[in-house]
Symmetry: C2
Subunit: 290 residues, 2 copies
């Protein structure tokens, strides 16, 4: 029998893979909350920058087995590759979460990697961010009051309650406003509407010929509609294609509704147009009152 390398898990220690907008914000929030934080980033200069005052050190192969919580905060494929590579050295009892904006693809892969191993993968989607990317824009209060969607693997109710409680404690310094349990399928369906469609619409909105001449003619509604037009095209392409069915449905649905308004306007049909607007107003009120 070979000699077994013993490495003890350090309670509360966090390892973060990818120090961009999300990973950087987790690092800053957890560090500010007094947690021990180790980080790794593909571009090494970012790790060095984070080491100045955000992380306690680099997340090396020696540190990985001592972490109670691992946060995969990079691109989906980078996260999956990292997990495959580290699957056998993660500590028994460790919790691994991701931060990817789609959950079917990543959970299917990562639940499988975790299968039969003594640590747990939990899909997570923190509903926060900005239109900017990178460590420079990350901040300790990024998740303050934000909703978090949590997609646990199949486990019995007791295990799941325990896992959720531990996760809440581990992430307590982030100040999430809520943690909502979901399935990968339900998550991807709803997120296509609440987040992905918003980015598509905003990005398409600025493609009008009037967009270059609106100085002095725009206010809050324009600003709100186009805020997320600025986006990381490469990252969102990957997220959109990993949720193509749901997003395609939502875009098609919106196109159909927009066409109804256009038809009513083209027909100069005030009654029909007012009915369409009143219906949207009513739906918005109903949701707000929930």
């Amino acid at each position: 029998m070979g000699e077994e390398k013993k490495t003890a898990l350090v309670p509360g220690r966090v390892g973060i893979v990818g120090l961009g907008l999300m990973g950087g914000s987790f690092a800053k929030a957890l560090h500010a909350g007094g947690r021990e934080v180790y980080g790794w980033n593909r571009t090494h200069s970012v790790t060095e920058l984070a080491e100045i005052e955000t992380i306690d050190g680099e997340l090396t192969d020696d540190v990985v087995p001592t972490c109670e919580l691992i946060i995969l905060a990079g691109y989906p494929q980078v996260s999956i590759d990292w997990l495959v590579q580290m699957a056998d050295i993660l500590s028994p009892g460790a919790i691994v979460i991701d931060t990817v904006g789609v959950k079917r693809v990543i959970c299917e892969r990562c639940f499988k990697i975790a299968e039969g191993r003594p640590w747990t993968f939990v899909g997570c989607h923190p509903m926060a961010g900005t239109q900017y990317s990178g460590f420079a824009h990350s901040r300790a209060n990024m998740f303050h009051n934000a909703p978090m969607v949590v997609v646990p693997p199949k486990m019995d109710d007791f295990e799941r309650a325990d896992m959720l409680e531990r996760l809440e404690q581990l992430l307590e310094p982030c100040g999430f406003g809520s943690m909502t349990l979901s399935t990968p399928e339900h998550h991807d369906e709803v997120i296509a509407f609440t987040s992905q469609l918003a980015h598509v619409v905003s990005n398409a909105y600025v493609k009008s010929p009037s967009c270059t001449v609106h100085k002095g003619f725009s206010a809050g509604s324009y600003r709100d509609l186009t805020r997320v037009a600025r986006l990381n095209a490469r990252m969102w392409t990957e997220l959109f294609l990993d949720n193509a069915d749901n997003l395609s449905f939502e875009i098609g649905n919106l196109i159909g509704h927009l066409q109804e308004y256009k038809d009513a306007i083209d027909d100069r049909d005030a009654e029909r147009l007012q009915g369409l607007l009143a219906d949207g107003d009513r739906r918005k009120r109903e949701v707000e009152d929930r």
Copy 2:
């Protein structure tokens, strides 16, 4: 010869026709700035409410000829009807402005009413508001730093400069961030994009079947995209149909662009999708850098 009734214009005195969100906000801002403000509202109880601490009195036929500035802040047709009725008793030198969100229809009518009369009609569109309506939601700081689009009648440069300077002085307590001169045609073209399209998209956005189940799954981008889904359906129907040509173009243009994203997604064409997203990102950056 009949006896001529003499009524002296009181410098700085303001008359406001319609005490809703816009008119109420003008009244509050100007009153807070020490101006004498008189108001009229079709529903008389609102006038009485405003008299408690916002206006100096009701804008009666006796007061109208003493006002240096008249603000037409009601529905387009109500504003036009009021102006026709008062055209002969308005004071020489008075400036009449409106606050309607489209300018071709209202300016054509009101420039004609003012023709050959000793007062001036100036089309105005204060680019401010909220998703709520009515006097109860009006506030003194509504126009603070907001842009104002100003559509003057045909006049020589000297007259126009004088008129603009007087208007700036009269509205000084409102704290507008800018006053941009425009023609009715240019205004309506740009506003179809910056404001009307935003309201159509937002109102259509909430018509997805996912809209009722998104609790815990939504954050800033959803909130921004749907903020103006709540709207005054009757008012916006009138505004949209008075700008039907421009708005129909903008909706059609957006539908075309949305279809491009949908096609790229349906074809699982990452390169094309990333190109579309990068193009929107680039346009948004260019406009922000202007």
